[in-house]
């Protein structure tokens, strides 16, 4: 007998989400979207419970989670960093900024620092092309970034 261990709140939330989609296996992407929206990521246990509630194999749920880049199994950091790689930012050196972030944090894109403080992701355009290259940390936008400025920006989040 295999056991899926989750907190009561999570179990209830996931069950409610599945119910709101009539426990229909065809709605698995919408269900995962909502659940990730709540918890920031999709743990193996969460996927197992979703599969059970929708009455579909967990291998299919994992197949979907591992296929779509929007879904993640890594918990987001306390301060999620998103680097814009849209055209304007890219031509103004966003990739170098990203490389510097990777170097300083010691994580790849999609990863989270071991202390859970920062997670690193990319996105395409935040509508602030005039400030290119742009990155966001949480809700705060940082414009005209250069690799040299990365250390300073991260230091703002020292406790």
């Amino acid at each position: 007998m295999a056991v899926i261990k989750l907190s009561e709140d999570k179990i209830n939330f996931i069950k409610d989400v599945c119910k709101s989609f009539h426990n229909d296996g065809g709605e698995v992407i919408n269900v995962l979207h909502k659940v990730q929206g709540e918890y920031g990521y999709l743990s193996a246990e969460v996927q197992e419970l979703v599969a059970k509630e929708l009455n579909i194999p967990v291998s299919r749920v994992y197949g979907i989670v591992s296929f779509y880049s929007f879904f993640t199994m890594t918990p987001k950091g306390k301060h999620p960093i998103s680097v814009c790689l849209g055209t304007a930012c890219y031509v103004r050196g966003a990739e170098k900024v990203l490389d510097e972030l990777k170097r300083q944090l010691g994580v790849e894109v999609g990863g989270t620092t071991p202390d859970g403080k920062f997670s690193l992701n990319c996105l395409r355009c935040v509508g602030a092309c005039g400030l290119a290259p742009v990155a966001m940390i949480g809700d705060k936008v940082y414009g005209r970034l250069t690799p040299d400025k990365v250390k300073e920006v991260l230091a703002e989040y020292n406790d």
């Binding site: 007998m1 194999p57 291998s59």
Partner: protein, 608 residues
């Protein structure tokens, strides 16, 4: 049903197509691939797979090996791109070339590209000689692989039954399709994307940790060496060559109608006697038959069934009906995973193979004065789940298993070839006594419907006290995925259900669980066609005619047997008299019955 589908076919509009300058008429909606086959033209395929008449077609249109050139399309003009024949429907007036220079060139490039990320260890590959990619490369005359790039490197995964060597996977998705649709096991799915995409269990865990039931149908349909059986031939030969060990063997019903195929014989050739002779040449000390314990299974399972029916008829509401057969280890794994609320429904009788192990290592070993540790019991099975079954903890005694090794029909063929023996040249020899005697009822265990027919033959005579007017219950035979029949037990109607393929079993069981239908007994076999279509049998490469011919052979073997009812097996009766007492008695329960485990997933509340 057959009549109905023919009628639909007739009502479909016929259209004219020209394939390789050959004019033919096909029903609307026919693919180019099938139209060509009707015209006797062979278009090579790789990812495409069909098990005709068994409701299984895999056509992801992914490999592009079957591309053809459409020289005249619906608009009267040539189609610009080559089209995959498996996924393109014919249209009126279409003209197709299946082997133009352009087609052959494209086909060769496609295969070269597939080979550029495929290990070239063909000589030592488990599928060598049976590999569909190897065959294609051979037919296309590929002598070098012009493309060089990144190579997949994935860890090997080994369950007790199945080896996954995913570097060899060509992403045809046949395994995923059979696992999810034919079996509804759902262990496998395509995961990740792009170059790192693989077919794997959830979270890329090992098969053993997934809901896999070890039925092995994924191995049976895999065109390459990505999925194969665990090879136990060396362990068996080591035991045979160990002078301290007495090594005995038992052969499952379905192996005798399929082994011949590995030696170029026609599908459906019965090779029972030659197989026994070959096993002796390999050095087995005693050659016995699983059919002996199939008869024993009927005595136990039939008695259990009658016991439940009698109690039920006496008004005992606690009786669980229908009784479900429990011979098929894939099916046992399946209900442990998927029907944990019904674990008390299946018969508690062990499978014939496990009964054989229990009888051999207790009754026979005692009789022969052989220590349990010095007796090695080998099984020849059409099945891969049997390998797993033999390793279940409940079938061990003091760290020693009842069945030491299980070889598939294919592995046995390999051993015979290692000894440079040809089954065709073998004389026909008999099994050894006493664990070699069997009836026709035991042989039919190998085909869907056979176990329940065998049980019915015995249960009828025991229940009514009368001789059967007709031994053959043809109403229980056939290839439909779900079948049912009423059998008249001298005034008492008995409702029998049959399913083969686990998707069908799931459907039938759900109907029972919801109370939609009442049955007295249900037989389930995990593999399409029953054991004749088992995953350990010679590869059928999608030719369902082979499975049908094996089935016919099973019933021929039964019809040719002098005794055709399990309760008339004299050696089985002697076993009860000398050792077991009575069916379902105390000793039988100890040796011949088992229990089941809940393997489903349960949700538990954690602290945080």
């Amino acid at each position: 049903m057959l009549f109905l589908s023919n009628k639909i076919e007739e009502e479909k509009d016929m259209i004219n197509v020209t394939i390789d300058n050959k004019q033919i008429q096909v029903a609307e909606g026919t693919t180019i691939l099938k139209a060509a086959r009707q015209a006797g033209i062979h278009i090579p395929t790789l990812c495409y797979f069909e098990l005709a008449g068994m409701n299984f077609e895999n056509k992801p249109g992914g490999c592009r090996v079957c591309v053809v050139e459409i020289t005249k399309d619906f608009n009267g003009k040539p189609r610009r791109n080559l089209a995959p024949a498996c996924a393109t429907d014919c249209v009126e007036g279409m003209e197709v070339l299946t082997h133009s220079a352009r087609v052959i060139n494209a086909r060769r490039t496609v295969v070269e590209l597939i080979l550029s990320d495929h290990p070239t260890d063909c000589l030592t590959c488990a599928k060598s000689g049976q590999c569909e990619l190897q065959k294609l490369a051979q037919n296309l005359g590929i002598r070098e692989i012009p493309f060089h790039g990144e190579q997949s490197t994935y860890r090997k995964d080994m369950s007790p039954s199945i080896v996954r060597d995913i570097d060899k996977c060509i992403m045809c998705r046949r395994c995923e399709n059979v696992c999810n649709n034919i079996q509804t096991v759902g262990a496998l799915s395509a995961v990740n994307r792009g170059f790192s995409a693989v077919v794997a269990p959830a979270f890329e865990q090992d098969l053993m940790d997934s809901p896999c039931v070890m039925c092995g149908q994924c191995v049976q349909v895999c065109p390459v060496g990505a999925l194969s059986e665990v090879d136990d031939t060396r362990n068996v030969m080591a035991a045979i060559n160990n002078p301290k060990k007495t090594v005995i063997v038992n052969t499952a019903p379905a192996t005798r109608v399929a082994l011949g195929e590995e030696f170029g014989m026609e599908p459906g050739t019965i090779v029972t006697g030659q197989m026994a002779a070959a096993l002796r040449r390999l050095g087995f000390d005693y050659v016995f038959d699983t059919d002996f314990t199939a008869d024993l299974t009927i005595m136990e399972e039939g008695t259990e069934l009658l016991g439940r029916i009698k109690k039920f008829m006496a008004g005992d509401k606690s009786v669980r009906l229908p009784i479900l057969t429990s011979c098929c280890p894939g099916w046992v794994n399946f209900f442990e995973h998927n029907f944990p609320d019904m674990l008390d429904v299946p018969s508690t009788a062990k499978s014939p193979m496990q009964m054989f192990g229990a009888v051999a290592k207790n009754y026979w070993a005692e009789k022969m004065g052989i220590n349990r540790e010095d007796l090695v019991v080998v099984s020849i099975m059409p099945c891969l789940a049997k390998k797993y079954e033999s390793k279940r903890k409940e079938f061990y005694k003091d760290g020693n298993p009842d069945i030491d090794y299980v070889l598939s029909t294919r592995e046995l063929a390999r051993l015979i070839k290692q000894f440079n023996l040809d089954l065709k040249d073998m004389p026909s020899e008999d099994y050894d006594d006493p664990l070699g005697e069997s009836t026709g009822a035991a042989v039919i265990f190998g085909a869907t419907g056979g176990v329940i027919e065998a049980a019915t033959r015995t249960a009828y005579e025991v229940f009514t006290g009368k001789a059967l007017p007709k031994i053959d219950f043809t109403e229980l035979r056939g290839m439909d995925g779900i079948r049912d029949a009423w059998v008249d037990f001298n005034g008492t109607p008995i409702h029998i259900g049959i399913a083969h393929g686990l998707a069908n079993a799931r459907k039938l069981l759900e109907r029972v669980r919801e109370g939609k239908e009442q049955f007295h007994a249900i037989e389930v076999m995990a593999c399409p066609g029953g054991c004749v279509g088992g995953a350990g049998q010679p590869y059928h490469h999608g030719n369902s005619e082979i499975i049908k011919k094996r089935t016919e052979a099973i019933y021929r073997e039964d019809a040719g047997k002098p005794i055709r009812k399990s309760h008339e097996n004299a050696s089985v009766m002697k076993l009860y008299k000398e050792y077991l007492g009575e069916p379902c008695g105390h000793k039988s329960h100890e040796l011949l019955h088992t229990h089941y485990f809940d393997k489903s997933e349960h949700v538990e509340i954690s602290e945080k």
